[in-house]
Symmetry: C2
Subunit: 506 residues, 2 copies
Amino acid sequence: MKKLLAVLAVAFPIGAQAALVDDVRNWRAGHEAEIVARLSELTRLRSVAADPEGLTNTANRLLALLKERGFAAQLLPAAGAPPVVFAELKAPGAKRTVTFYAHYDGQPVTPSEWHSEPFTPTMRPGKMESGKGDARGIDMKTAKPPFDPEWRLFGRAAGDDKSSIAAFLAAFDALKAAGRAPSVNIKVVWEGEEERGSAHLEAVLRGNRALLASDLWLIGDGPMHQSRTPTLYFGARGSMGLEAVIYGPLSALHDGHYGNWVPNPAAMAAEFITALRDSEGGIAIPGFSSDVRPLTAAETQAIAELPPVEAALKQEFGIGRSEGAAGLTASTMRPAINVRGFRAGQVGAQAANAIPTEAAVSFDFRLVPGQTPANVRKKVEDYIKAKGWTVVTADPDAAMRAAHGRIVKLAWGGGYAALRSDMDSPAAKAVIASAGRAAGTKLALLPMMGGSVPINMFEDVFHVPIIGLPIANHDNNQHAADENLRLANLWAGIEVYAGLMADLNW
Amino acid sequence: MKKLLAVLAVAFPIGAQAALVDDVRNWRAGHEAEIVARLSELTRLRSVAADPEGLTNTANRLLALLKERGFAAQLLPAAGAPPVVFAELKAPGAKRTVTFYAHYDGQPVTPSEWHSEPFTPTMRPGKMESGKGDARGIDMKTAKPPFDPEWRLFGRAAGDDKSSIAAFLAAFDALKAAGRAPSVNIKVVWEGEEERGSAHLEAVLRGNRALLASDLWLIGDGPMHQSRTPTLYFGARGSMGLEAVIYGPLSALHDGHYGNWVPNPAAMAAEFITALRDSEGGIAIPGFSSDVRPLTAAETQAIAELPPVEAALKQEFGIGRSEGAAGLTASTMRPAINVRGFRAGQVGAQAANAIPTEAAVSFDFRLVPGQTPANVRKKVEDYIKAKGWTVVTADPDAAMRAAHGRIVKLAWGGGYAALRSDMDSPAAKAVIASAGRAAGTKLALLPMMGGSVPINMFEDVFHVPIIGLPIANHDNNQHAADENLRLANLWAGIEVYAGLMADLNW
């Protein structure tokens, strides 16, 4: 009976909750220009690793925005990394404390690949690929709300992850305007090194364990399910970068006179890649998956209940096949070796008939529960060595190059492990219920997100439930050129954030 | 007996020939600054495909230089390509006519990879890699001859192939100064499109067949044997370029959320490369070599007599292995698929965790006798298709990309076939004897050069012997950054050129 009532509570929002959703929606409808201006302001701040000043400016601005709203806010310094923005607001009578995590840094940019400058927020009626967007965009000085919810704001980090910060701030403002108090004590942790692997975050967490203590972490990051159904996720794959350099001759050589006698490093790089992964994304390293923790029945069931998206995505992405036949979410439950890029010699009009001196390959490993960066690294290196490669960590000199047939320089990124947390904990059930009421629909529940956020770290340090709360559209070009946020996602995100601030109890 | 006398004539230069070599050497010793200034002047002219004006200026300058020397010279227009510089000088009483071929265009440049600007000729005491060279170079305004013959002049096309032109001009001037008449009628064909495959040259040859008629072509191109022994070659591999583009998703996708479900075009490109060639440079296409004409016993013998260079070259090039175990010259008798470069996504600090939208690979095929560009192309395409690729020649649209699992866009360069001509023809024997007298040593005789010059075309059109006369040092960084010419090679080249102008008869 108790269970039935709980189900009814999700399916038929109670009056107070309906009123809350209405209050938030009405406030948003009256403040669309202001909300977009806030996200634009944040997007304009050049918070990327290549621009330390941009990261500092962003942290300071976020600090000010939180203080304006009555939070006790401070910057937690992180040696060798941008500071963590921390803030706290106690709710009278609340028995639970919830930490809202997001990150304010964005991926590196290659401006030449963008249709507008990455840090000049540009509103367009749709995706560039749809033919609806032009480089100039909509003139927001003259655009009048209500804005078309299909409009998108383009700019680095507009989706990943400043949309989460903008939704948090707007939700808070909406609640305040409606005179609604939070139902939980709120803490904020917004970090600035997520896109480089959050290598310095754990030290900050451990160094401020009491300050950061809470009952639940809500991870505001990642994209919503491709069905555009409001989404929660209960874990994320881990991540580790690897830069490999493979060596050819000391100086570039004429490939007619020396080709097929002098080894070609681009061809060797191709062999290196195909030795690691097959054409279905399978990893060729023997025993690589022996540590992997299998999915539980509940996790398998949750995946089976997701709306099917594969056929639509193949059209959307313009791909005629997938790697593996398991479906998108099931595929991303596997460990992965991705190739982020490669470079050797020149192509096209600039191509010279020469054997290049070296080839560079950038890899991105995705880890699943049971794997650690250290054991992945060891398995990869052992395998490469067994294949006849000499592994080095600094540029080899001429004598070393002449002494070894296959040399690869490996530079590993720090990386972190994956997490799949319990979908059945009391906190998890409360979040599912609250978010469901705010969204007014059955949620997409993902046991683990394909992308990575360093949530294993929160689990390791705090031993509390970790739940992901993504709001960006899946087609936001996250990590690529023309990153964007669809306004409908921001509107929906504000409502779910408000629900989880003012209508969450367990 | 006749054969013995011929051998003695090579081994013990006759008086007149010794006097000729002395005359040329003495003239060169007195004119080193002038010879270097000439090569510098030519190197300064930006004769690369990206600079049509530079090509035109070079052709005009060469025309003037030949006219100054009493040649009947003209530019032969080539529709869609730089003009061919043609010149002719009749020698009283000569019964043979020899055409001296060279090319005045250079490979494309990537200035950022050079230690000095590619078209600013820079003299250095040795190779950059030797530690002897600095970026600034030797001040030639104050340097006094005799110059150290180990000095090198750096600049695009200084070695490939303006050194041949400079040697021709200096040899001619030396003979004139010594009052020595040529023993053959001389024709000059200097083209400007060799580095792009000489696609328009054959039409010029066929359109001017009578004007260009001769008894022998001497191909002034390519590097001397690595032993630094004066060299003749009797053929060259053919060449054909191929630019391949392999497609991933329409826009770059987060490789955590989509990696190992959405196909990765960089990984596909690696598979594409390894499907074509193995790690020993062997070509994996079944039947690819079925057309290949085997070496004759004489050709095999000539290769066996070459000074061994492999161990020294491995040290010089800093390579710990070779592709295949057959030795350098034997290896380059095979057909080859070289990778000139590849590009996808980004590497290093700019690498983003994204699946790239496409990957580009630049290939360079080297053909051997028996193969034609058309049959190589067909075999490659048939094989690729059998491997499941859809081959296109224009960018596929979104619908096509969604309909095919593996799409590759192929853009073939024109290309040309290989040639190995008869090492035992009367003309070949006369050239071997004359060059041997001028060089004063046993020559390195290569049945076929690994690099390509379009000499099959001369054979096709004129049906006369074709012999290669390379003078550039093998370590001239031909086709790469820091291309250079070693002065000792230029000095030796002048002597051999003079011998072949004034001491060649059959």
